[in-house]
């Protein structure tokens, strides 16, 4: 071997070449995979919206088609509950009746999110689904189970024209996550309250 492989110069050169090769490889791979990943994320969002609205036989293959069929409109609301171009609150209308709104909140270990479907009268929940990044499996992670999500069906959000706080059975041993879910729902509904007001004055 003509060059000492433990000299500083060689180490620098070796490390530099290695990093450049690896960086080029990873960049190429990410660019190549990106369209597929984007499609998956879009599909997942569609699946969650449809499931919240009570369309349960949806999977990755038929998500795009079913969403096209059922989602009759989608728009952004401003804080007064009017649809505008520069609104900040997204809303999806399913089958011309059900309004599906996205929710974001905090669990115990990380963010939680979900979709809430509200009936045409703006008073009751049609369905809900939840997702989480890092809640404990078997405890906070239970919010993704059907058992937990099904109890939201038919729950009132407005009574006599007034918003009412949501009530549901929390998960034993996952108080923080359950509180997070409650806070997320209450906060989201508060923001959308003007819209439901207009839906059913």
């Amino acid at each position: 071997m003509k060059k000492d492989i433990n000299s500083n110069g060689y180490i620098f050169l070796y490390a530099t070449i290695l990093i450049v090769v690896v960086a080029a490889l990873l960049t190429a791979a990410v660019l190549w995979f990106h369209p597929f990943q984007e499609r998956n994320e879009k599909n997942e969002k569609r699946i969650n919206i449809l499931r919240a609205a009570g369309i349960t036989d949806v999977n990755a293959d038929n998500a795009a088609r079913l969403f096209e069929e059922h989602c009759t409109a989608s728009f952004l609301l401003d804080e007064n509950g009017d649809a505008t171009d520069d609104g900040t609150l997204p809303l999806f209308v399913i089958d011309r009746q059900i309004s599906v709104i996205p929710m974001k909140g905090n669990g115990l270990w990380g963010p939680i999110s979900g979709y809430l479907a509200i009936a045409a009268d703006g008073n009751t929940i049609v369905g809900a689904n939840f997702d989480h990044k890092s809640e404990t499996p078997g405890l906070g992670g239970e919010i993704t189970t059907e058992k937990f999500q099904n109890q939201f069906r038919g729950k009132p959000i407005r009574e006599g024209g007034q918003m009412v706080p949501i009530e549901f059975d929390a998960i034993t041993g996952a108080t923080k996550t359950s509180n997070g879910v409650k806070e997320m729902i209450d906060n989201t509904l508060q923001m959308y309250a003007p819209f439901f007001e207009k839906l059913n004055p």
Partner: protein
């Protein structure tokens, strides 16, 4: 042929990375609640051990000794990121279930252990086989554990209902403990127990 047998078959049994060397336990507990993620995790780890062993073995004469661990880490990390991105693109459901554990393959002791102990001192083909064998040995335990946990914890296998509805009507219930990580440890313990009973030479106090 004997070489192939020694490098690929032995890690499935007498030098199994999980039950004999007790490495890679963390991910073994985390991904074995169901069979499908366990299979994907096993396949991913096998690909990473085999390819990283091969690459490091090809580079071994040129790697400066003082930065060899860093070079190994870079190679392993690159492979893991590629697999993570691949799963996100083509097996989205499974990648969501595996979540952080795909990224954590980087820290799986089996991989670094094989690189240090084997790939740095052996040729590419042998190293590849060694990585393959150890990856398969890890996968084998993962699949056995996941089989029992999914069967008794959820009554399903690969998502299909196996335990008939009539059992549930007769009062049978899924064992919730099976879903939780501690049960994976107990199942691994039982496998080690059976293995050591069948091979008394593996028991330390039996050795003269």
């Amino acid at each position: 042929m004997s070489n192939f047998k020694k490098l690929v078959i032995e890690p499935l049994r007498k030098t199994n990375p999980v039950t004999v060397l007790v490495l890679g336990i963390c991910s073994c507990l985390a991904v074995t609640a169901q069979l499908k993620p366990a299979l994907v995790m096993g396949a991913s780890v096998t690909v990473v051990t085999a390819l990283s062993n091969l690459i490091i073995s090809l580079l071994r004469k040129g790697i400066p000794n003082r930065i060899r661990i860093i070079v190994q880490l870079v190679v392993v990390a690159t492979l893991v990121i590629l697999i993570d991105q691949f799963l996100k693109a083509f097996a989205y459901d499974v990648s969501k279930q595996l979540s952080v554990y795909v990224g954590l393959i980087i820290t799986n002791c089996i991989i670094m252990g094989r690189l240090e102990a084997f790939a740095l001192s052996h040729g590419p083909w042998e190293s590849f086989l060694d990585g393959l064998g150890n990856g398969l040995g890890y996968s084998l335990i993962l699949v056995i554990v996941a089989f029992f946990r999914e069967l008794f914890g959820s009554g399903t296998l690969l998502g299909y209902q196996v335990i008939p509805q009539s059992f549930y009507e007769a009062g049978y219930m899924n064992n919730g403990l099976m879903i939780l990580p501690p049960m994976a440890l107990i199942v691994v313990g039982i496998i080690i127990w059976i293995q050591r009973t069948r091979h008394p030479e593996m028991q330390e106090n039996n050795q003269k």
